[in-house]
């Protein structure tokens, strides 16, 4: 089969000694870019300001008024305006006297700087991004468009509520559909990301326990959990203990039942778990946890596998965060912003945080804050954020849900699971699949580095994938699998895209099994070769320092 329809055929990577050097360090479309501190000056600016004028405003211009060409107001005039006689005295004598050292660029320079930087990034827009447990799916551009509608983008969080009824309706509609999709009772919309949602869920649990005068000390977390789970439980004041797993990669129900007792506040379970497996005994786990007077927290990072197919509420879950930036496609943006609404069971909903949006019988919407809490939500454990949550993510997620609908979301789960199983079965003869024998996986397939020769490990396969034009899978996570490789293709990959990935992984896996030491050099075609992370941590350079004058003169 053809690896690449454009006619390109694989060759071994060019020997780096043979590469022609360039004067600039650039290599055609691969352009090096200095730091803004090395190219900008404190006197350069890419923004022109209009001097204050009468009768010219944003909204006046919308009404058809012409735009008057602006001119740079001479700084001296502004200085005069802020002089003590006008208002300088109003700065409490705290005017800045020292330079800040902020470089500026003109607009063309600024656009070029960031455009060049952008091209040193891999992205979903460029290709398969199979990071397990991260759900790197296509980000529909309609969602970007609607989030930028002025009625959402240019609205202040403290505007009088009669002026933001549409925004409140978005929050309420999204909340409604999240409840529909999860079969839960209530939802806290304000958490800013998954880990923040976990904290929200655990604080609800702690508040519910304290309300019944039941102080419990322990939260049980499986070893395969995301690091945020134990970190969150520790922050919420709980001691973290491990839940044992069985040989099939699932929670060991008997061992869990043995450990449950009056000191256990909650059990945190990821389902589907981080090995990409559904916990078939989830309902029994929940029942056992409830029988012991504890609560079930579910890490919803992997909701994509079951959205529209299974309702967490039917599994006995008490609280689950939903990463809108995973399942509901709001962009990851290089590491955020996220959004982590938390769905709650009937037992926990009374303790959810403020604020929340309520719909009233007259069709109006209201933000329930501290002011109304005593009447409408007396059990609230408190407030997690200023304002009301990630509105810009709510608009995107709502557009995503409405676009897919009930049938589309079901198809999302099915295609994501189909794609992952296709990868699992297409690679298990060249890569060790520790749970491959136990049946199908859910939306992600896990492999180990068992069988690699010559001291090669997961990282070498991952870095070689970079040279083949793919983002690597999640490496060395979860910790329960040696040299774990967790592959989550998502539903937005075509079969052709999967086939190309499979071919690449197969070729690299065979080299790894043969102990091909060239893999240690990978990547050789990326903007950078392997980076020295030890040096970065041992001698941290976390901010730009201006070179000493002598160096600068050279």
């Amino acid at each position: 089969m053809t690896v690449n329809p454009s006619g390109w055929r694989p060759t071994t990577p060019a020997n780096e000694q043979g590469e022609a050097q360039t004067v600039t360090g650039n290599r055609a479309l691969m352009l090096e870019e200095p730091l803004i501190f090395e190219i900008g000056t404190t006197e350069q600016t890419g923004v022109d300001f209009d001097p204050p004028r009468n009768g010219e405003g944003d909204h006046a211009q919308h009404g058809g008024g012409g735009v008057v060409p602006g001119s740079d107001p001479p700084p001296s005039a502004l200085r005069a305006a802020t002089s003590p006689s006008r208002g300088g005295a109003r700065l409490a004598g705290l005017e800045r006297s020292r330079p800040i050292g902020l470089p500026g660029l003109s607009e063309p320079e600024m656009v070029r700087h960031y455009t060049r930087l952008s091209r040193q990034n891999y992205a979903i827009d460029l290709g398969l991004f199979p990071l397990g447990s991260c759900t790197m799916k296509h980000n529909p551009r309609l969602n970007e468009k609607v989030a930028r509608l002025p009625g959402f983008a240019d609205v202040h969080p403290l505007q009088p509520q009669e002026t933001v009824q549409g925004a409140l309706q978005v929050v309420n509609e999204l909340a409604f559909w999240l409840l529909d999709l999860t079969g839960m009772y209530g939802v806290a919309m304000s958490p800013k990301a998954g880990a923040h949602g976990e904290l929200c869920g655990l604080l609800c649990i702690r508040a519910a326990l304290e309300a019944r005068g039941d102080k419990r000390a322990v939260v049980l977390v499986p070893e395969s959990a995301h690091g945020t789970n134990p970190a969150t439980a520790a922050f919420a004041g709980y001691r973290v203990e491990n839940i044992p797993a069985n040989a099939a990669g699932r929670v060991d129900l008997a061992a869990l039942k043995d450990r449950l007792g009056p000191d256990v506040a909650a059990v945190m379970i990821t389902n589907p778990n981080t090995c990409g497996l559904f916990e078939p005994e989830m309902k029994a786990i929940s029942d056992a946890v409830h029988a012991a007077g504890a609560f079930v927290y579910c890490d919803g990072a992997n909701f994509n596998a079951i959205v529209g197919k299974v309702r967490p509420g039917d599994l006995g879950i008490d609280a689950m965060h939903i990463n809108l930036h995973k399942t509901f496609s709001t962009p990851h943006g290089g590491g955020g912003p996220g959004s982590g609404p938390v769905v709650l069971s009937e037992a926990l909903a009374p303790y959810g945080p403020l604020p929340f949006v309520a719909k009233y019988s007259d069709g109006s919407y209201k933000i329930v804050e501290e002011e109304q809490a005593a009447d409408e939500h007396p059990g609230a454990f408190g407030r997690m954020v200023a304002f009301h949550g990630q509105m810009g993510m709510f608009t995107r997620a709502l557009a995503y849900i409405l676009s897919h609908g009930a049938d589309g979301l079901k198809q999302v789960a099915e295609d994501s699971v189909l794609n992952a199983n296709y990868i699992l079965r297409s690679l298990e003869d060249v890569l060790d699949a520790p749970f491959g024998k136990s049946g199908p996986c859910m939306h992600e397939a896990i492999f180990s580095d068992k069988g690699f020769a010559g001291g090669l490990s997961t990282i070498d396969l991952a870095k070689a994938l970079i040279d083949e034009g793919f983002h690597p899978m999640t490496m060395y996570f979860p910790l329960v699998v040696h040299g774990a490789m967790l592959v989550e293709p998502t539903e937005t990959e075509s079969k052709a895209s999967l086939d190309q990935f499979i071919l690449a992984v197969r070729a690299i896996a065979e080299r790894a099994r043969a102990g091909d030491q060239d893999l240690k050099a990978a990547p050789v075609h990326a903007p950078r070769r392997r980076l020295d992370e030890t040096l970065a941590a041992r001698k941290p350079v976390l901010a730009y320092r201006d070179p000493a004058p002598a160096e600068a003169a050279e």
């Binding site: 204050p52 470089p103 959402f152 962009p331 730009y544």
Partner: protein, 452 residues
């Protein structure tokens, strides 16, 4: 379905490779009784792009848009003009659709931008180092209190009455679950801040003093005496900046001795967006960096000796340290940090100063005109672009009445401090470069009417 590339033929072919007879076979671990048999009830079926856009547009039109009316709201979120190129940059797919840069060889764009952002924030705040962003200002402030606790091993924190009440509520909520004792107070409608009260409250048990600069009423006060008093008692000074544009004109908290400076970066590059996503700023002294929460980009070299950037000091973080991490934060706000850094790069130091001066000049003009309204008193004698008026009537209904006149005339303290009688007549007015003379005249006229 336009977002799903697989055809039915693909699906059957793939099932064949897998060796499954149906898709349901792949869900066999889910007990059959728990599987939904058809599309979930309630939610409609899929919709065209046009239909969804129509629905969302209709919802958006039910909101009063800040840019359409005379607009004077602040209190932690500010309307500034955002250059078109900033939004263009954050919509580059290579930034928008990338992940946390765990594979640095193919994420130098994000990593270099994070390093530049950290450097800009550190300089703006007058600190040595900054992280690559937090969720927002309110969560950053709590994380700072928590960090001070780890550094000083003391748990008493004094929070100034000038700190945004939502920020205080977040800290109070979190402190209920940790062993932190917070001393808080309500602000007074006076020109003086509570610096003296803060200094008097510092003792040997104090971990940190938290001061907002400029504060919730817009007041500016020298942080130096508070820093000195805190340091003398072995405590840290945490400064909170919710309007970083101010630092183009006034001294940075770091210059005045603050040990940790946190803030809300929304006002540079990020739109109002009804409260989020925003971008938390977090800076501190280099000697404290190992107690800092959040992601950090650091400089290093690659195997060929070329400069490059990586995520570093991750032994502080949850994915390595699990329950012993400095914070549970994972996702931060990198795309908003990109908007911040791109806007600040476009401004540069000269542009930031001009922008700050323009804001201050406009605010001075507005303050003078509004304070001349009979019965209206200007509370502040110092402010940057935001000040508080003491009205002769309750401010909250006044704000609603002004909406009727097409003016979004500030934030009433009744909204922020419901039920607090001594603050009910307070109205906080923010005046940025987006405000025109006509806007000020419209506010003046509306306010005149509603206070009479």
């Amino acid at each position: 379905m336009r977002y799903l590339p697989l055809s039915d033929a693909d699906r059957s072919e793939m099932l064949g490779v897998i060796g499954a007879s149906s898709i349901d076979e792949l869900f066999r671990d889910v007990p059959e009784a728990l599987r939904l048999t058809g599309p979930i009830a309630g939610l409609p079926l899929h919709a065209s792009e046009m239909a969804v856009e129509r629905h969302m547009t209709a919802l958006s039109r039910k909101n009063m848009v800040a840019g359409d009316v005379p607009f004077f709201l602040g209190c932690g979120a500010y309307k500034h003009h955002i250059p078109a190129s900033v939004d263009h940059i954050i919509q580059r797919g290579e930034f928008l659709t990338s992940y946390t840069p765990y594979q640095p060889e193919i994420a130098q764009g994000t990593l270099q931008m994070m390093f530049e952002f950290q450097s800009q924030v550190a300089r703006l705040f007058g600190c040595e180092v900054a992280n690559a962003s937090m969720y927002d200002g309110s969560t950053a402030m709590w994380e700072a209190i928590s960090m001070a606790h780890r550094i000083t091993r003391k748990n008493k924190t004094i929070i100034s009455s000038g700190v945004h009440p939502h920020y205080v509520r977040v800290a109070e909520t979190m402190a209920k679950f940790t062993e932190d004792a917070l001393a808080t107070a309500l602000p007074e409608l006076t020109a003086a801040t509570d610096a003296e009260r803060l200094i008097a409250g510092i003792d040997g048990e104090t971990s940190a003093v938290v001061v907002q600069y400029p504060d919730i009423l817009g007041r500016i006060a020298d942080l130096t005496p508070i820093a000195e008093a805190a340091h003398a008692a072995g405590a840290l000074l945490i400064a909170v900046v919710t309007e970083p544009v101010a630092l183009g004109l006034i001294k940075s908290p770091g210059e005045m001795g603050a040990d940790i400076v946190v803030g809300e970066g929304q006002s540079i590059g990020v739109g109002l967006q009804f409260g989020g996503p925003y971008v938390g700023l977090f800076a501190c002294r280099e000697k404290h960096v190992r107690q800092m929460p959040g992601r950090l980009a650091g400089e290093t070299v690659d195997a060929e000796g070329k400069r490059g950037f990586v995520l570093t000091l991750s032994t502080r973080e949850q994915h390595i340290r699990r329950e012993k991490a400095t914070s549970n934060i994972c996702t931060s706000s990198v795309l908003c940090a990109l908007a911040f850094t791109a806007h600040l790069t476009l401004l540069g130091e000269r542009g930031l100063r001009q922008l700050a001066e323009l804001n201050h000049v406009r605010a001075c003009e507005a303050a003078d005109r509004l304070a001349a309204i009979p019965g209206v008193r200007l509370v502040n004698d110092s402010f940057f672009n935001e000040f508080t008026l003491d009205l002769p009537v309750e401010a909250r209904p006044a704000v609603h009445a002004m909406v009727g006149k097409g003016v979004l005339g500030g934030v009433s303290l009744g909204r922020l401090y419901p039920g607090v009688d001594k603050l009910r007549n307070g109205l906080v007015i923010a005046v940025t470069e987006t405000v025109t003379d006509d806007d000020i005249a419209a506010l003046e006229a509306a306010l005149k009417e509603v206070v009479q």
